[in-house]
């Protein structure tokens, strides 16, 4: 028992440093992914096929291929064309591009599901499409989108462990390095799992707060 506690307290700084990378990667992936996904969603909803089509192809390509393959293409594949990215940047870009496709579909369907009468009510007041979107449609779409976006975010937190394969010293990678030295395999992976669980749970709690805020004013 004492030995285990010793091991954990010795490993703690490395594990926490790894968890820091995990959180950072999740936040980068989610925020950039959300911005990019919103742009893609608007393209998908556009009247112009020239905008709709490329966004559709992008979403299909990203959702139809493994995240691990996407990360390898960026980190190991791009140097063939002279683009050498440091591991953290490669992972950040990979996760952002990946989450964008999922966020796009969530936002697109949330916007499309707002009742057509809401667009019409905004239109007869004389609002432009942009004004209607900002003032009337998005606040209502946000409410529907919060829960599935949070799900994607929580999945992303766990998927950041894939960054271990492209040399990012995040939580899973740190755990691998420690077990290679100490051979305390079960204890260390259990500790890593616990840390992932804590981060995901905190995020889920944040989701609850956001959902309540988005639902404000409606009964």
């Amino acid at each position: 028992m004492d030995a285990t506690l010793d091991l954990l307290s010795q490993s703690a700084p490395l594990l926490l440093k790894g968890a820091g990378y995990t959180i950072a990667l999740s936040l980068i992936g989610m925020s950039l992914g959300l911005v990019l996904g919103f742009g893609l969603a608007l393209m998908r909803l556009s009247r112009s096929a020239l905008l709709r089509w490329p966004a559709g192809v992008y979403v299909s390509a990203i959702r139809g291929t493994p995240l691990l393959v996407q990360l390898f293409l960026i980190y190991y594949g791009l140097p063939q064309f002279g683009v050498e990215l440091p591991p953290l940047a490669a992972a950040g870009i990979g996760f952002s591009l990946n989450i964008a496709a999922y966020a796009c579909e969530i936002l697109r369907s949330a916007i499309a599901n707002v009742d057509r009468g809401q667009w019409e009510a905004a239109t007869v007041l004389g609002m432009s499409r942009g004004q209607a979107l900002r003032r009337v449609i998005l606040p209502q779409a946000a409410r529907t989108a919060v829960a599935p976006l949070s799900n994607s975010f929580i999945s992303l937190v766990k998927d950041t462990s894939l960054a271990a394969t492209i040399q990012v010293p995040e939580l899973f990678r740190q755990t691998q390095l420690i077990t290679a030295r100490t051979f305390e395999i079960f204890t260390m992976y259990l500790a890593a799992a616990a840390l992932y669980w804590i981060v995901s749970t905190l995020l889920a709690a944040g989701q609850g707060v956001l959902e309540r805020r988005a639902a404000e004013g409606r009964r």
Partner: protein, 244 residues
Amino acid sequence: MSAVSARGLVKRFDDVVVLNGVDIEVAQGEVVAIIGPSGSGKSTLLRCMAGLELLDGGALRIAGVEAAPRAPLARALKGRVGFVFQSFNLFPHRTALQNVAEGLIVVRGQPRAAAEAKARALLEKVGLGARVDAWPGELSGGQQQRCAIARALAMDPEVILFDEPTSALDPELVGEVLSVIRELAAEKRTMLIVTHQMDFARDVADRTIFMDSGVIVEQAPSRELFGAPKEERTRRFLGKVAAP
């Protein structure tokens, strides 16, 4: 000058001709009811006048704005043509007061305080002075529709279009909405009302138009049209809706 002037309006949905050459003139301050069987094109006519549907043919001038076929109209009107929907379409994330003030703030660029003062007065006028801070979901159907009328009035519309304003309401709530519309008629507001409330059309509208299959079959001063319809189709329709 007339408030609405339309010549040969045509609207198709795919291959179905919904409006097949409709001519209509509405004078300032006139109240016109439009009746007819479902699918006769009366709602579509109203929606074309508000710019909710693009015209496929004909010429339309409303509230001083010319609408060309296939050209968007609503943005140019900037709320000068009010529209009241069958299903209210209030903004659920805004209070009654915010719903009414929204167009003034966003489209007309008025300061919030001025817009809300006007909105408050209009809600008072439609009998919702005590519910200004209520969310649409907390209001009854009749209250929601009165709030929607106040929202249209906020823009000082030159013409107000009502698309079956009481069809979604429980019977006991119809009266409160009709009495608001009656009051607007007494103020000599220019209004077109698509309705199934025949008694209301006869009492309130200066003129009633009967539409069927995308054309105007007959129009006359309301008492005349309901009292002594000239066309066989009108007679048949009125006979059906009057039947117990």
